[in-house]
Symmetry: D2
Subunit: 355 residues, 4 copies
């Protein structure tokens, strides 16, 4: 399903090697100012960082086909697209016989007869370029309501940031190529990536996302709970393997007397701790919403791997040549922000009149 | 949102202290045999275990209002309900002034003017009784396709099962009150619960769910990915704070050469490891689907807690008296199974003709 | 499907002879005043008129279970129900063998094994009592935006009102038992109904609905066009067999130079005629939205009819005894208004920020 | 909304003067043979007939980007597009000031600031080229279930076919440029169009659609009723102003004893008449499903028309030059068939397991 949201509706299209990757964004209010510079900044955050990212270069210039006029939303669906420049699929032919471990190749080839591996097809992380454009517009939409979303790299490989972080840290992290919160951590994480890269290997990590400004009660119930909707959207990002809110899995080792966040009064209701990550009963409790997403190591690695040959039905080897990110975590940071902005924008519109 | 699924559509209704809790299940094929004994068995698994669960007793007898005839589905929507017997809300009045930490009280009271706390209202874990009935029917539906879903307790508090487990282990776990995989672990986990209980406290834990029989390629793409849909449904269960597939957060510390599951050939494609939890690109890769869900400690505890008095706008104390589960993990096991069955059943119907 | 709308979401439940008929209405903004008197007035318009309606009496008292506090919406879903008092199904048993022509009996019995005819089951016009409650709340919601919906009886049998009518006429029609626009027409239509009734027969008619205050451009595109959404909701009303906007089928005999509504300027854009019924390209053109709905004669008639005996698989006769409306058109008037209010309310919320 | 259906999901994209018009069709089962010749035949039926259609020529060659392999569906979404060759919008500039009566120009210009009239933009009948491609695939899908959909021209202007027609008549109608059921009617209707054309005017008409093979009980309930879903999809076709099932508006003048279709037994249940158009309670009653759609005269006419000048805010005149269809009814026939096939295909998949 390429659609996210019910009232601010985002539709994704394109494939890794298609002529274009694009999207529709419906529901952005007429007259809202849309800052193209902001979109370009967000897109720049998705680009590979020098040294630790893929040397593959895509200009990623967004073309708007409808919905924008003189820098403002017209109320029509916003249709945009980005031209793909790297669309040569010939070097991927081999994977039609010997699917890449860790990729969607095997299920796609078995599920869809005649499927041809072209980059990552519709499963490619390349499609997140469309997510970031829509997310950046959603970010501008929710900012009008005083809501801000920021993410940073909590860990790469065995280097883990042990400090509690704030929204301001997420802003600062954007100056660091790894999106770590500090220069020191950036340098350590950078080394972790370069070491993996030197071994033709890859490494994973954790992105943490902090949202401020959600009014108490913001969110839905049951299958429309705010955390449930966000988890769905974050798991849709390629390579995501886990999502936890607040202290998440750690909470399972705590006592209720430790995990419950006590309330106190100081110019309004406040919480002494934020173990719950700002969510109670699927709704905001007024504390910043905090969640973490686990990203696996990039599956494309230069090392030889065991696979099978679908033609001869026997064991085989495969090497994934070419220019791949040894770690996608730094680039995933803005993508996690983007889907979060989209979910919140949709929910704002759903709740709009209820406030 | 009280609705899950698009083609096998489950709608939940009721509140903690409403006359009835019930549900609609649409899309179950005409003529399918529905085993009421199976439903009652699943409901029994949701009941509190002697010693470690709440002494509150609800008979939980399901009444079917439509959709069933002579033990078979008629093709009409299946409408069922369970009578609530404990519906006295008087002892909850105090929480309208002094909301319970860890509960939905605070956001609900602030979001909905005039909201009256009655048990857990629509946010109550009590509503999972409806989820289990629908899930049990979905379980019978997916069994026809050779798909089986089983869950067990991976950890409670600091007691963690360190073994790799199989679907068979999940079956055996049902003989143990804590749903641990072995008697030894059950005894250790049991003690963990009793200790918390003795201190008027509570404890959390991790449920692990294993699904066998999914055909390679089963699942959707992007926002309809199988893992994304399951994460959404699992996060909808009250008290869930995290979901991870395969080795989940641990993957972030691995190298790609370790985390990628290599393929080999032996009467079909196989995987040497299952680090991905059976999911590649949002689809089944043929290995069992494995995920874990983190449940926080029960927020209702007998210990005095800090809260605020919404009337006087000042700090206050609250004690949650009454009979509550010191640990909801054992009861959550069948609920996790149930939502998983529902998501898979919906997806089967979506994919039905595509097979 | 028992659900209408995406952002103001109405869910219908119940059956002709169930304990309750009810509904959920989600999305009504917190704090909106809800006038119960207005709801009761709308329900009264749905009741059979003395003389020309069924003598079956239902008190139709609405009980609100959630979402209302001190006459205001709380922002929670509004859950309400109406107790059925006539739930004796015994006299319907015969129709399980000899289905009633013009009713859903035959398809329901063949589609759903074990289906038992109880009144009209889920297909019954009785369920429109729930539609009217939700519609009445939606009516109050859209009134805040200056939008008013009124309907009246355009024709019964061969008596047809040939005048062009306005919203004010629809208000006046409510004083007439047949909902005709004038006393004279009321008297003629009344006779038409009584004549059919005297012959143990029934008669159909046309309801016309006029909506004022829609801003130019209100509505969606393609499958979300305003006329398309309204047509769907109106066809969902039992016994509706046709819907036309503006001059509808008559337009097919006109020339473009006659049918196009010319624009002119007088304190804003205006239209000289309203052949299009206020809709261009699926959106409001600023003229009142006008459509008509055709209702077939009540299928329940006292006359003997040809049917089949499903048990003996042979021809049979059936007589539908009891107290039925010889004409449902007067009661359908407020139901047509109700679904129109619901569709517009949903669309307002979708467009809210786009204005 | 550019999406139709829930399980066979059709998404429309493009604009009158965009580079491409296209669509996605999701849910077509893997391995289903797709006959491109059939699609081209259906597209040819949408092309203007010599003499009575617009001389504007579009080659309408379909390019498939995904979902097809060796003439079979792969199970992936079917993505296709058609290149627009006429995309010069310069002659439409004038309509930004003086909107065309009968078109979406006025509401679009007022609703969407900065909107530029380019042909019919997203409201254009040109987009039905995408509908026909998807509909043709849906037609092939439903044919596997023995269901066939055919439409023909019931009337153009004042020439009306008074005979009862069958599915076979709809097949024969395709040999006639006007899609009339007989040569005689074709010649009369043809004259009606040419007369309007000679006067720089246009004319409307009625399309009738007949569907055979629907099993008894096929369809949904309430807002998902088969007739409701079809009405929605047909009203989405540009220029449609009315939809009626069976004898439709005529039923309102009948008595129940005349309108109810009596059942009889002859190798199964049969109906003596088909006044209901094959629909009872939103479901098929086993008789052919018959409905009619009213199409207004083409709004583009060469005659001078009254409009307003949006810049000077005063009355103005407009002449719509260029090559337009004096009657779109013949071309609408296959479009009505197409949306009907799409709705039925979606419903088949929803009901599939329930049979």
């Amino acid at each position: 399903m390429y659609k996210l949201g019910d009232s601010i509706v985002y539709t994704l299209y394109g494939e890794s090697h298609a002529e274009y990757i694009g999207g529709y964004l419906e529901g952005i209010p007429k007259g809202m100012k849309i800052d193209i510079e902001q979109i370009n900044k967000d897109l720049a955050l998705r680009k590979p960082s020098a040294g630790i990212g893929t040397p593959r270069k895509e200009p990623d210039e967004v073309e708007f086909l409808s919905g924008l006029d003189n820098g403002k939303a017209t109320g029509e669906k916003i249709h945009y697209r980005i031209k793909n420049t790297n669309t040569d699929s010939s070097k991927y032919d081999i994977f039609n016989r010997t699917p890449r471990p860790g990729h969607a190749d095997l299920p796609a080839l078995i599920k869809f007869p005649g499927h041809k591996i072209k980059g990552g097809n519709q499963f490619s992380g390349r499609l997140t370029v469309s997510v970031v454009v829509a997310g950046s517009i959603a970010r501008q939409f929710i900012a009008q309501y005083g809501i801000n979303v920021g993410a940073f790299t909590r860990s790469i490989g065995n280097v883990r940031d042990e400090e509690e972080r704030t929204f301001e840290d997420t802003v600062r992290s954007k100056d660091n190529p790894t999106r770590a919160a500090t220069k020191e951590l950036d340098s350590l994480m950078n080394r972790e990536v370069l070491e993996a890269s030197a071994e033709e290997d890859s490494v994973g990590g954790v992105v943490e996302c902090i949202t401020t400004g959600l009014p108490i009660g913001f969110g839905g119930t049951w299958f429309g709970s705010l955390d449930a909707e966000i988890a769905r959207a974050v798991f849709a990002i390629p390579a995501c393997k886990g999502v936890e809110f607040g202290r998440g899995f750690e909470l399972t080792k705590m006592k209720g007397s430790e995990s419950n966040d006590p309330f106190y009064y100081e110019n309004g209701v406040r919480l002494r701790t934020n173990n719950m990550g700002g969510i109670l009963g699927g709704m905001s409790d007024g504390a910043p919403m905090v969640f973490r997403a686990a990203f696996k190591p990039t599956p494309s690695i230069g090392k030889e791997q065991d696979t099978i040959d679908l033609k001869t039905k026997s064991d085989a080897k495969v090497v994934v040549k070419g220019r791949h990110d040894p770690c996608i975590v730094p680039r995933a940071v803005v993508v996690v922000e983007s889907v979060t902005c989209l979910v919140i924008a949709d929910e704002i519109k759903k709740e709009k009149l209820a406030k």
